[in-house]
Symmetry: none
Subunit: 189 residues, 4 copies
DNA sequence: AATGAATGAGCATTCATTCAT
DNA sequence: GATGAATGAATGCTCATTCAT
């Protein structure tokens, strides 16, 4: 048995991945408040395993979305280079952010809920997306395309809220309202 | 005994008011999904009394907010007369709507939740506020102050979402974002 | 005011009758375990009135069926005279008893439930119908048409049980089974 | 740890058995509609455990009686071989069925209640006992010992009803009445 | 006598969380 | 590390019963 620990670690990692995949799927179906048991069942593991890997629900939610959040955050730099203007970059970045939110049923609502159990997720967004967004906003402000009175956090929170969809307010409505909000930001310049 | 029935009715009305007051207070603390028991306890009545007066939770939530909703709806006509322009009227009306929402912790979230148990409340908003808002939007469109592609319902839903406040996104933030959204609507003209 | 008390008594009697009529109707629809409020509502009185007139549910159930029970009891003597044989009289009397039971949804089940709250009803049946049935049984025994080992109470209880109908065991089934039981009684002669 | 899973399964099985035993005991005392809490308390488990093992009340009731029902059903074939005549076999089988019923307080009433929550139990009886009884009835009919107009279901329902015992109508009464009913069936031949 | 508002015990059911194996 | 059986607090809701008017 050359590397028994490594084998075990690999197995543990696989378990962790299975849980994340299952959680992501269940979150789409039932929202981030889905029963833990449903996730465990879908992942083919026991509920205890979920609690071991993700002590709180926020840990799980954060982990599920971390990759996408990181990708989204990294996008800002590239868009700033590629786009004709800072505001164009901001617009495209927001599009990506909205696309992320509206495909996660209940995520917007979860972020807006103020649920103390979701602090980690909140912190994650704060630490990665807010700086990315701030960079774009600063660039816009420097270019005179945007008033300076809007913080990245507030804007993202507002966008998150606008992406809380429902039966009579769907993804397209959300996207349109976010676009309108951005237009409002620009007109303040 | 001149009006024995009147006495009883008066007592019942007082009870009903106590329940409404308690519910309003509890809703602020815990949101509209607060346990019925908590409301009953705060009102100093049994749970049965709550169910007698308000068979469903939506009945209670609707009753708690009906007066303010009606007042808000009635405001639109007056503002349209008094204001310098339709858009100014819309702005002031939205201010009042926002003021209503941000003082009701969790109401925005409740409206956005799509909870089937809150259909009545949803319907109440639809029936009274949406027409009021639509009147203002039409006037704005006629005056060329607004693009015609935004429905009253979508706008109100978006405003409702923007008013979901939290620890780092307070009433002032919400008001600012709503104002920005309105600015965006105008710029579409 | 010659007879103010009489007037009041008459009114009280009318109320009592209204409750009885309503209870009878509700019992047919929902069975004898129907909520008190439903009966009160149908009678157009307050629940307190029901409790005043019929302190226990059994009081109400008994009162509702007393008339029919008395009629049924009185029938035995007449049938004994009119019928060709004591057993023929018994058969016809049982038919009447069954007819009474199967039209009262849930009455058979109530009688068989052993519910201590229905003691009064039980006693009423015991005091009026059992003697009537016993008379018939005795006559049959004297005529050699029946074995002597069946008591009136047991027979009636059995008949009552056989009349507990349901989705796949309807009135006709009940009647057939009662007839078969009687045939069994006779064959024991 | 040779069979860690087996240990857990064994423990779970013991819990399940404890619940079944407790339920059987409580059913005797209070009938099959007894509160779940009472069963849980008697079994020394939490209510959740009951729901885990028996999601619906009918599942629990069915499980409690399944073994005896199966045994009873299997009995018919053997009796048919061993008995002198089909009717003798039927008689002995019915004796066994009655013995089963009268020791389960409230089971007869439950079967007769038409309670939609007990459909499973109803179906269990239908699927196992009715065919067993039908076999016996057919044999009797072929032997000319019985009229053909009685279905197995109706007969068993009637027997079930006759076995609803109470303070003044005990097991012996029930047995006697069932015997009488059978005698009536035979006399129809 | 009649009313019916109010009470609250009682029950079913869900689900987050723990912990022995 | 993984399991999942067990727990029980939490909550919605019903309805018999009381009692002030």
């Amino acid at each position: 048995m050359p590397e028994p620990v490594g084998v075990r670690q690999a197995q543990a990692e696989r378990t962790r991945s299975a849980v994340l995949a299952a959680a992501a799927a269940v979150f789409v179906d039932q929202g981030v408040q889905a029963p833990v048991r449903d996730i465990a069942e879908r992942a083919g593991v026991g509920v205890g395993t979920i609690y071991r890997n993700f002590p709180t629900r926020a840990d799980l939610v954060s982990a599920v979305y971390r990759h996408q959040i990181d990708t989204c955050a990294a996008l800002s730099a590239r868009l700033l280079e590629e786009s004709a203007s800072p505001f164009a970059a901001l617009t495209r970045w927001v599009d990506a952010f909205v696309e992320f939110l509206v495909t996660k049923h209940g995520l917007g609502a979860a972020l807006g809920s103020g649920d103390p159990g979701l602090e980690n997720l909140h912190a994650l967004m704060l630490d990665t997306l807010v700086p990315a967004c701030a960079t774009l906003l600063d660039a816009c402000a420097d270019a005179g395309e945007l008033g300076a009175d809007i913080t990245a956090y507030t804007l993202m929170r507002a966008i998150g809220n606008l992406c809380i969809t429902g039966p009579d307010y769907d993804r397209d409505d959300a996207k349109r309202m976010v676009a309108t909000l951005l237009a409002g930001c620009r007109s303040a310049a």
